[in-house]
């Protein structure tokens, strides 16, 4: 039972302080380092652990929580403080991207990949890439759609880059802020086992946007059906990452609030995808640049092929 209490306490960020303050806990913590390797071994041997523990990440989060409490100790006006948010290697970033594109059912993205080391590199550069990918792909797709028309003159549409940048960065920062505020408010009313820090939420949102980059490139194809299938597909993938991350955090709350929260998360995500598709990519009113066939009386007939 004391172990269970220890695991519960470990979910809070100031676990180290709690342990230091409580003399009883100190004696228990001496035993912990011996227990943790055993638990890790058992985790490896039984991959079929129940979903709760995996989603809570209780396997080795004690140690990482303790370490995390000591990591970000530099004052916020020094450069070293911000360096702690970029403490990732190449393979870690690639792993996190892979985890966001191939969500494993039942695995929590934050617990599995972030593990108390949220980084700002991924969210920032994924958003930057997405901004330019959407702007460039939209421009290319419009060019291809309007290619055959005699009155069409190509324009680079550079203003759309700033609009895309504002939209995507606002989404990647304001929605996590609102969600974090909401979760903190609910946490004060209902004791949730799982709580995320603001940076972890920003991290999840940033990495979940990665799937939209290849989607935006593929949206160049001027076919309505293809575009909508791609949109739904990428929405499912990134939406599932978000759902599996945030469901454990609201599960213990009032049922209706929990469902409403998850539904709102998905709704905003869908709005982003649909909004980008509608604004940056012109509707392909013709499937292919239509051949113009001069009719008998001189008027031109444009054939539509569906």
């Amino acid at each position: 039972i004391t172990c269970l209490v220890m695991y519960l306490f470990a979910e809070f960020d100031d676990a180290a302080n709690l342990l230091a303050a409580n003399p009883d806990a100190t004696t228990i913590s001496i035993e912990e380092p011996v227990e943790i390797p055993k638990n890790q071994h058992s985790r490896l041997q039984e991959p079929g652990r129940e979903e709760d523990d995996e989603l809570l990440g209780t396997d080795d989060s004690d140690k990482t929580e303790l370490l995390a409490g000591q990591k970000k100790s530099a004052p916020f006006w020094t450069f070293e403080y911000y360096q702690t948010f970029f403490d990732v290697d190449t393979y870690q970033v690639l792993d996190r991207i892979k985890g966001s594109v191939f969500p494993v059912p039942g695995k929590n993205f934050v617990r599995l990949y972030i593990r108390s080391n949220p980084d700002l590199y991924g969210p920032f550069w994924i958003c930057a890439t997405l901004v330019f990918t959407i702007a460039v792909s939209g421009n290319l797709s419009n060019f291809i759609i309007h290619l055959g028309k005699p009155t069409y003159h190509y324009v680079p549409e550079f203003r759309k880059v700033s609009i895309a940048a504002t939209t995507i960065y606002a989404y990647a920062w304001l929605v996590p802020l609102a969600l974090w505020g909401f979760l903190m408010w609910r946490n004060s009313k209902v004791m949730n086992i799982v709580s995320y820090s603001f940076l972890e939420i920003v991290c999840v949102y940033g990495y979940s946007l990665f799937i939209y980059i290849p989607t935006a490139i593929l949206w160049i194809i001027p076919q309505k059906v293809v575009r909508w299938v791609l949109a739904v597909f990428s929405l499912c993938l990134s939406g599932s990452v978000l759902v599996m991350t945030f469901w454990p955090a609201v599960r213990d709350d009032n049922r209706r609030i929990a469902v409403a929260t998850v539904a709102t998360i998905l709704l905003f995500h869908a709005l982003l995808a649909v909004g980008c598709l509608a604004y940056f990519f012109d509707a392909p009113e013709l499937d292919f640049p239509a051949p113009i066939i001069p009719a008998h009386n001189g008027t031109t007939v444009v054939t539509k092929s569906h």
């Binding site: 911000y82 360096q83 970029f86 393979y91 590199y121 550069w125 890439t129 330019f132 550079f158 203003r159």
Partner: protein, 217 residues
């Protein structure tokens, strides 16, 4: 001094040595000479430094001249000339046209600053202005590409000219990225090199895109 009579120095420790300040290699006369020299010499010295760095960018070798004696004149000249050459794009309305002068300026300088801050946050050992200097100087191949594109567009704006422009811009984009990576990659921690190189790739890609999509009146 009456107080010093009380100070006793132990007889065991010899107090001896030389109290001389080594004279610098240059005599005080040289400090005045840069003030007295002809203006042409002053300007030519800076121009030669900038020109030497241009040569280093076009033939990237592992030389430390670009890093050691950084200056921002070259990047400024390149940025302004690139932004000027990107003017005159056609547009029905201002919203649909190419980038304005201020937008190009901001993209280049703000982009370079962001990449520098990014590489320093990831643990790079290069200094802020050295990195800005390298990124700015490596815009030179793309400026040359812009010049070539404008000349090609004078001849016509058909498919052939587009293919020529695409090849030229693509080659110069590769050259810029490789040149800046050659200068900057060594100062990064080894397991984060790709994390630092990718934003540089994105930066030059955006500039190349602006150059490639330039359409005149």
């Amino acid at each position: 001094f009456p107080g010093l009579a009380d100070v006793s120095i132990s007889q065991d420790i010899p107090v001896e040595g030389e109290i001389t300040v080594p004279v610098g290699s240059h005599s005080p006369d040289e400090d005045y000479s840069t003030l007295d020299e002809p203006v042409k010499d002053t300007i030519m010295r800076d121009l030669k430094a900038v020109g030497k760095k241009f040569v280093h960018v076009m033939y990237p070798r592992k030389s430390s001249a670009l890093l050691r004696d950084w200056d921002l004149w070259g990047p400024l000249v390149l940025c302004v000339s690139l932004a000027l050459m990107l003017q005159g794009g056609s547009a029905d309305s201002k919203d649909d046209g190419g980038p304005q002068f201020a937008e190009v300026f901001v993209i280049i300088w703000f982009g370079a600053v962001v990449i520098t801050v990014n590489s320093k946050l990831l643990g790079g050992t290069i200094s802020f202005f050295q990195s800005l200097c390298v990124l700015g100087y490596c815009v030179l191949p793309l400026t040359v590409a812009m010049l070539v594109c404008r000349l090609v567009l004078l001849a016509g704006a058909g498919t052939v000219s587009f293919i020529i422009r695409l090849i030229v811009v693509g080659a110069m984009f590769g050259w810029s990225t490789l040149a800046s990576t050659a200068f900057l990659a060594d100062s990064q921690p080894p397991n984060r090199k790709a994390l630092v190189v990718y934003p540089i790739f994105l930066f030059y890609f955006v500039i190349s895109w602006m150059i490639l999509t330039f359409t005149p009146q």
